[in-house]
């Protein structure tokens, strides 16, 4: 069960990493990255609780963090700058 969750988390992380490069698909990539991250963590907890190797969960966690960071950069900008620019226009 833990391994299944960890693998699913890793796959979602990889998918979101791919999607974040395709403009408007970054909207879908960020939630996928977050869900993948959570699945990897929960999978890792279950694997550790059963004294099973948690390497795949750690890999999923790392990929998930990278995916969240990259999709965050693609998705979000600092401040209300764009809103203000639009209001000035």
């Amino acid at each position: 069960m833990g391994k299944g969750l960890a693998v699913s988390g890793m796959v979602l992380g990889i998918v979101s990493l791919v999607l974040c490069w395709f403009g408007v698909l970054a909207f879908a990539a960020l939630p996928l990255a977050i869900v993948g991250l959570v699945l990897s963590i929960v999978g890792g907890k279950k694997l550790k609780a059963n004294n099973a190797p948690s390497g795949i969960a750690t890999a999923g966690l790392v990929i998930g963090i990278i995916a969240v960071v990259l999709t965050g950069i693609a998705f979000v900008s600092c401040g209300l700058c764009v809103v203000l620019a639009a209001s000035v226009a």
Partner: protein
């Protein structure tokens, strides 16, 4: 991004210092950060409500919605959201909220400092007009409302320096005194005072205010008041317990 990275590394080291289980801690981190993001976004929308309404009048709905989602996060909203998320998570997991809050609070301070440096580099959260030493003139800026070609007070850097000093103190209290409650009280009391004072020197007044006091200043007042009240209640409880213990010993 650099600030987030530094804060994350420090947070993980502090969690290891407290011997927290790795995946357990990461789950708390993710839930807290998501709550913080939601809080930061919600407060940004509240503070900039009039601007956002104007945006929906000027642009097509989907375009306006994309802009609102993509931009605008307020630190205090993130802090409040994060605290609520952490509190609920700790209640569910039946672990000490104060202990976890101190592990989050220390790296948050240094992350915030880096964030302010980022604000300075980007030109947002700018200071009042000022033509003295260390004043800075923006030739370009990410924030469209930043005055271009006007000497400004580098309030972002001033706050970054104060936050780094606060971080040093919090780290000392965490590692050497091992006192989680003191970390929280120090952070709450110090940052609310810092923010309240520095707000008078902010030049981006369009963020919102009530009775000439900005939204962030109101939040600072509330946080400071709550911290003082809790500190007083705790001190009274400690004095009462000490008296009861003394009475028992005397008997």
């Amino acid at each position: 991004m650099i600030g987030i990275g530094v804060a994350a590394v420090i947070g993980l080291l502090l969690a290891r210092h407290r011997k927290y289980e790795f995946f357990d801690f990461m789950l708390v981190v993710v839930i807290t950060l998501l709550s913080a993001l939601a809080g930061a976004k919600i407060l940004s929308i509240i503070v900039n409500w009039n601007l956002i309404v104007n945006l929906f009048e000027v642009l097509p709905a989907m375009e306006a919605l994309e802009i609102v989602i993509r931009s605008g996060f307020v630190f205090y909203g993130g802090l409040i959201g994060g605290v609520i998320g952490l509190f609920i998570t700790c209640k569910v997991k039946k672990v000490s909220f104060i202990e976890y809050a101190s592990v989050f609070g220390v790296p948050l301070c240094i992350g915030h400092a880096f964030g302010r440096v980022g604000c300075f580099l980007g030109g947002c959260c700018y200071g009042i007009e000022y033509d003295g030493i260390l004043s800075h003139v923006y030739e370009t800026a990410i924030d469209a409302s930043t005055p271009i070609g006007v000497p400004l007070l580098p309030i972002q850097l001033i706050e970054a320096v104060l936050l780094m000093l606060l971080f040093s103190v919090l780290l000392f209290v965490f590692l050497k005194l091992n006192n989680s409650k003191l970390v929280i009280y120090l952070y709450a009391l110090s940052y609310s005072v810092i923010r309240f004072v520095l707000e008078f020197f902010r030049g981006d007044a369009e963020r919102g205010s009530l009775f000439s006091i900005s939204t962030s200043q109101w939040i600072s007042i509330i946080i400071f008041s709550v911290a003082v009240i809790l500190l007083v209640i705790e001190t009274i409880k400690r004095i009462k317990n000490k008296r009861q213990t003394t009475n028992v010993i005397d008997k």
